[in-house]
Symmetry: C2
């Protein structure tokens, strides 16, 4: 009698061939653990969408198996889907993370009015058993403090999941990536390495966060008026370096922007940000501090139009106005897709007379992700049997797969997966099994998942050529039109006052209606289609555009 | 008796605080010359727009004064508005340019069916008198051959307009920027220097185009299968280097993409591209050449979704399909705003198994614009009295102004202008005069200038939250509603099948109509406004979105 052995299923529900919404399922028999639960930020391909979640139906349908959600670090592309996921799977599932990670999550869940989540603090270097899995938490460096990699013992062998990481030899908080723990994991034997691919295309190594501090001190030394620094609100090490440079230059730090105010508060409370009470001010209580005594620490490094920095640039901030001679440091890099928005803010600041310092003109930013040489070192420390590159677009995953090959991972053991792929691992084999339900869920206003690709497509069409609504009244018995058709347009490529063309369009529709009536059509769908086609053709002939046509047939 | 002296008016109608649509007017008494007539490419802020032209009403209103249009080089941001401008000012105005510049323009005008334009070839190093102006044409390097700077003698002093330039010490065609002519202009005295600011933020110097050739040869040497190179179709020197490297590697060059086919043809005919007939093939006549004997030269370096490269990546190209092991070289840099589109194509190519080489991984692209050290050299050669930075966003213009200050141009003689500003120069003064009519003109399908900011704004609103059309029938005497309101929506954040919400919305509108009827409203504008407000409020309450509401009142 052969008994079917249980297989471990590893299923990335996000983060592959995309940047963001990182989420991976580990499933073994009746037990399931989810690693990370992130969101993705929409771009111009998703008009009007507020947020993008991974489609986690696979988890919701098996929620009775869900033992825990383990979070590697506190960035929103790893934590942002938690409020939505918890609404579906309930708040009794434990959420494991380090102190800062949980501190940031707690704030987010509170905003969403999620009561009594089971937040379970883990210690980097610690160990936790969850069902059939044993988790070791390994400290790693990243652009947020307190990140961990996961060494996971499973019944079919060990997995190492790096989370997001870099290898910083001079980290701001002195907390090194634990090379010993990674090497020892490698010694124990790792069947599967899942490693961060974001910077796999970058040659060499990513510079230490400490190099930014030196650049900031130089800039602060020579600035004569106000200094404004914009950065990511979660980048506590960057914020620490801004604070240190400010205090060294005899300036107070003024914090502005909602997330910057919240995060500095949480980070100080939990001991991750060290600055004297006296040296830190709210933008509304800065009083009449002279410009040369101030460093403003601000949100808006991505060019967000409603951020504190954009408001300053637009003379729309309540207490800070950019003046000629001010120095603005953009201590960040634009996330792909935000380049133009950032440039727009820089242009506004230039016009206001500020001196702008950014990554292109001074070393005021470094990445939080490992570059090729660090990724190879990770591969060589771990010496995995199998490799799955995670966290990246196809180009990054493919580049990372190349690096794995160079370090000696066998070609057939490198799996470049897509979101929703399922890797099945048994004691003696690793194979790609059937894909699971996966994809994107749009959050738009109060609606979660109601709008789909069709609505997005409609919005794109509306944006391209506008909309023309035609209202025709039809005698319900004869199909004969009564009165002239109404035509209402928005966003069309004809001018609003092109009344001749509108008259011609009405005449064309009327002619179509006469024809359908003559043919005996009384069904409103038939009439709608005829009207749509006729107007669409008319618009193409006259304007070479294809507005969305919305025909409304009123039977009277 | 004092006689009012004629002043020279220098008016940039585009290219300031924007990249593209470069155009400058020189006006002196009854004579006017226009330098360049470019377009700008629309981005996601201009949904559905095909092209953006400068608003050149100022020229059209004074067309009887227009003596010539002088074009510095053949890029579309310097030539693309010509077909539209000529339709307004007539084809009798001479267009001056070098041979290649005119060759490219001739093709463009033919497409627009503009008959018998007066194209007047100039020779770099040559001289032409136009009304009160004397033009000397000075060879400069750029990312297209045959570019010139303009040394212009005017009754109030000399102007030097650099066009777009870099200082390449080893240009592909051996044609150096004429340092002697620039120095001699400086010696004669230059009242006003107008200089290219695109790369004013970049430190150091821009690398020679020749460095790209070395990188291409290395890549071609090690590639084992097909090589595809995507670049700008107008970058003839780049194309020359691709051809040379291909021939050296024993490969034929296969050209694909409409503009690449057209431009290589024109450039060969005019003697700017040198490759044997035998070594150059059309994509449709490549027959069964083995992959290792081919270099495909393609459009699509900006990620354009319909380009040859995108088609290859999508398995949608008629003769070339990307196969695992192919090498794709993106020999270009994404124009700001195109980053995501380029990345999308790279991801598709990665998934198809190609090795991708781009600027981030090998030195396969250099800029065509001078960096800070070159700009300072230009300033020091010319030693102008006054300086106007041109061709750039505010950040670039401001950075260039700083460089001018460093080289000793007096602060009060540096004019950071905006599009539409007018600089008036007399024998003894230079001052900013009243602004002239200027701005953007949208080309959308067949419409030129019909759509304005309101239409664009409508499209943005439509894209964000969709549109809801409400049709209500009203008794024309009583104002009483007859029947139930019709509600048709597109792109809303409620699902298409959220029929309960739609029913509630109809009920809310009906209630509003009862109220307006009770209040005796019969005016359809009053009823429309009431309906709009009520539905808008309903949608905000229920979905936290603000679709565009189009109320239609039918009086029956």
């Amino acid at each position: 009698m052969t008994q079917k052995k249980t297989r471990l299923r590893v299923i990335p529900l996000g983060g592959l061939d995309e940047i963001g919404k990182n989420m991976t399922v580990l499933e073994y028999g009746n037990d399931m653990v989810v690693i990370d639960a992130g969101i993705m930020f929409p771009d111009e391909d998703h008009p009007g969408v507020d947020l993008i979640l991974p489609d986690y139906s696979y988890i919701v349908h098996r929620k009775e198996k869900l033992r825990a959600i383990v979070i590697t670090h506190g960035h929103e592309d790893h934590t942002g889907a938690l409020p939505y996921l918890l609404k579906e799977v309930g708040t009794t599932v434990p959420i494991l993370g380090t102190k800062l990670t949980l501190g940031l999550i707690a704030g987010k869940l509170e905003e969403h009015r999620i009561k009594k989540p089971k937040l379970r603090e883990i210690r980097a270097g610690g160990h936790v058993n969850i069902g059939p899995f044993g988790f070791d938490f390994i400290p790693v460096n990243h652009s947020i403090p307190d990140g961990v990699a996961l060494f996971i013992r499973t019944p079919v062998g060990n997995i190492l999941h790096t989370g997001d990481f870099k290898l910083d030899q001079t980290p701001i908080d002195g907390r090194l990536t634990d090379y010993g723990a990674i090497a020892s994991a490698g010694k124990k034997g790792v069947r599967l390495l899942m490693s961060d691919s974001t910077n796999a295309e970058s040659v060499g190594i990513t510079k230490s966060e400490a190099t930014v501090g030196a650049a900031l001190r130089d800039i602060f030394d020579s600035a004569e008026q106000r200094i404004i620094v914009a950065s990511f609100a979660s980048h506590i090490h960057r914020i620490q370096q801004v604070c240190d440079a400010a205090v060294a230059a005899g300036r107070k730090v003024v914090v502005t922007g909602r997330s910057m105010v919240n995060n500095t508060k949480i980070a100080r409370q939990l001991g991750y940000l060290k600055i004297a009470e006296d040296d830190l001010l709210d933008a509304y209580s800065m009083g009449d501090l002279p410009p040369e005594k101030v460093v403003v620490l601000s949100t808006g490094s991505q060019g967000e139009p409603l951020s504190a920095l954009a408001r300053m640039a637009n003379h729309d901030h309540r207490t800070v106005t950019i003046e000629a001679g001010d120095t603005v440091v953009i201590s960040a890099t634009p996330i792909p897709g935000n380049e133009k928005a950032v440039s727009r803010v820089i242009n506004r600041l230039s016009r206001a007379g500020a001196t702008i310092v950014h990554k292109g003109t001074a070393p005021v930013h470094v990445s939080g992700h490992a570059a090729a040489e660090e990724l190879k070192l990770m591969l060589n420390l771990v010496k995995p049997e199998c490799f799955v590159p995670i966290h990246g677009e196809s180009r990054h995953l493919t580049a990372h797969a190349e690096l794995a090959k160079l370090t000696g991972v066998a070609d057939e053991n490198i799996f470049v997966l897509a979101t929703g792929d399922c890797l099945e691992i048994s004691e003696d084999s690793v194979r790609i099994a059937e894909r699971v339900e996966s994809g994107v869920v749009y959050v738009d206003g109060l609606s979660v998942g109601d709008i789909g690709h069709l609505v997005i497509r409609d919005r794109q069409l509306l944006a391209r050529d506008g909309v023309a609504t035609v209202i025709v009244a039809i005698d319900r018995r004869t199909g004969q039109p009564t009165g002239t058709p109404e035509l209402v347009t928005r966003g069309l490529s004809l001018g609003a006052d092109d009344s001749t063309l509108m008259d011609e369009a009405r005449a064309r529709i009327a002619k179509t209606l006469t024809k359908t009536a003559r043919e005996g059509a009384t069904d409103s769908v038939v009439i709608q289609n005829a009207v749509r086609e006729s107007l669409s053709q008319f618009m193409w002939e006259k304007t070479r555009s294809r507005p969305m046509i919305v025909p409304v047939v009123m039977e009277v």
